[in-house]
């Protein structure tokens, strides 16, 4: 499973960090840092919640 963040869309609203703080963090510039782009399958529920919560649809999970 791979997290893909479209930084052209990201507005740094931070809902992904709210849902899965171990994998996403909004940085000083107001754009998301993906902390671990290839997480284990056991995190799928949290990561799906984070992807769904993005107000600008900047996140996708591949695989």
């Amino acid at each position: 499973m791979r997290i893909v963040a479209d930084l052209g869309k990201c507005e740094g609203l931070g809902m992904c960090e709210a849902m899965a703080p171990d994998f996403f963090e909004v940085d000083e510039d107001g754009v998301v840092d993906v902390l671990d782009a290839e997480p284990g399958e056991e995190h799928r529920t949290d990561l799906t919640a984070a992807v769904d919560a993005c107000p600008v649809l900047a996140l996708t999970l591949q695989g």
Partner: protein, 428 residues
């Protein structure tokens, strides 16, 4: 009784999330989504932000559709009824009234949201018909009207210094247009963020060159004398209660909303005595079995804040509610309280404003105050010895960390230490 026919009324964010969640939960029965706009669900926050930007900028003039009609119909197997207004609800027969049509349901999610208020004499549905040059900002059609006026260099008067009005003012200033904002309160936004932050917001307007008139109401609107054959009414100026007259080509109303629940009057669904929002418990259940409510219109008790009842007009609230209401409607026995940390954001004059939690507090304390020197602002809200809210300008990195502290009912002192950067690192 298992659900064989689920109806969702309201095809904006909450309604969309409801149908998505229903399918994701494995629901295989009939799924109807009713919406009074002709468009498939689209994203509203950008309409007062990027949509109004000059051409060439990201999101300028573009409507962000969540899913196409084809995807909704073919992949999610939604019976999509767009351009269709719910006119009533028969809770005994379990039918939604769509004009002459009666739409039966086993489970119903109400998500009709809210409608902006008009000033007296400006409602297009009123006896005098539409008054051209006066608009709200809720739909994509409204946003196009505002954008066209901005492009034409219109003289704009905004009524209401709330978030929508302030974003319109920002869009005007970004194009170098003069703009006047009229606000009845002496300090704006006190209900949303409290007076301390309201004062900070006033400074943002002033620094950007917006002409902000506080503590003054609208006495009336002057109209052009109709001289064309059509005799249409058109606004010419806004008259204020202090005697001032402001010439205007476009008047944007940002004076709040009311829940869109006219169709529920007399249905038996319990409504709030004051604003007629839908009363629900912490699981979003109404007083009528099989009927659930989500989003802007729902008065809900939040267990996170001592059972404080609130009705939130927030994007994240609509999304969370929509999904939860659908899951609960399909499996009421498994319904759980919806615990959300209220969150909204707004973009003013190049600044990003963010709020998490509740402003109803014993104290609001400014703990970072560097806006004047190009830095950010952090205001924390305290209830007893807990942090219950945070307002942040231009410090996006700290917002979700403060949200976490609010969600965890975190200690006040630690939140202050974190926000001021004097936090003692805890060993891992």
């Amino acid at each position: 009784m298992s659900v064989e026919r689920m109806v969702v009324v309201g095809a904006s964010l909450a309604g969309l999330r409801a149908v998505e969640a229903a399918r994701r939960a494995g629901y295989d029965g009939e799924l109807v989504l009713v919406g009074d706009e002709v468009h498939a669900p689209y994203d509203r926050p950008p309409l007062s932000k990027a949509f109004l930007d000059p051409d060439g900028e990201r999101g300028a003039g573009a409507v962000a559709q969540f899913r196409s009609e084809e995807v909704l119909r073919d992949e999610l197997r939604v019976d999509l009824r767009l351009g269709t207004r719910a006119t009533g609800l028969d809770t005994t027969a379990r039918e939604v009234l769509l004009g002459d049509e009666r739409l039966p349901y086993d489970a119903l999610v109400i998500a009709t949201g809210s409608v902006p208020r008009w000033l007296p004499g400006t409602d297009p549905a009123g006896p005098d018909g539409p008054l051209e040059g006066v608009t709200q900002l809720r739909t994509v059609e409204d946003a196009r009207r505002v954008r066209e006026a901005l492009e034409a260099g219109a003289r704009i008067v905004v009524v209401g210094a709330g978030f929508i009005g302030s974003e319109v003012a920002s869009a005007a200033r970004k194009r170098g247009l003069p703009v006047t904002v009229v606000e009845a309160l002496d300090v704006p936004l006190t209900r949303s963020v409290g007076p301390e932050v309201g004062v900070a917001c006033v400074e943002l307007h002033r620094a950007a060159g917006t002409d902000l008139r506080l503590g003054v109401g609208v006495a009336g609107l002057d109209e052009e004398t109709p001289d064309g054959p059509d005799g249409r009414r058109r606004v010419r100026a806004v008259r204020l209660t202090d005697g001032t007259t402001l010439p205007a080509d476009l008047v944007v109303l940002g004076i709040g909303v009311r829940p869109a629940t006219d169709w529920l009057e007399g249905s038996g669904v319990a409504l709030h005595d004051g604003d007629r929002g839908v009363l629900v418990d912490a699981t979003l259940a109404t007083n009528v079995p099989g009927v659930w409510a989500a989003g802007d219109m729902a008065h809900v008790e939040n267990p996170l804040f001592d059972g404080e009842q609130h009705r939130l007009e927030h994007w994240t609230n609509a999304a969370d509610h929509g999904a939860a209401a659908a899951r609960h409607a399909l499996d009421p026995a498994a319904a759980e309280p919806v615990v959300t940390v209220p969150y909204f954001w707004s973009d003013w004059y190049g600044h990003r404003l963010q709020f998490v939690g509740t402003p109803r507090a014993d104290e609001a304390r400014v703990v970072v105050d560097d806006l004047a020197t190009g830095g950010g602002l952090v205001v924390l809200y305290r209830r007893a010895d807990r942090v219950v809210g945070a307002f942040v300008v231009d410090l996006p990195r700290v917002v979700m960390k403060l949200r976490r502290r609010v969600l965890d009912r975190g200690p006040w002192k630690e939140a202050v230490a974190f926000a001021t950067g004097s936090e003692v690192p805890t060993p891992r």
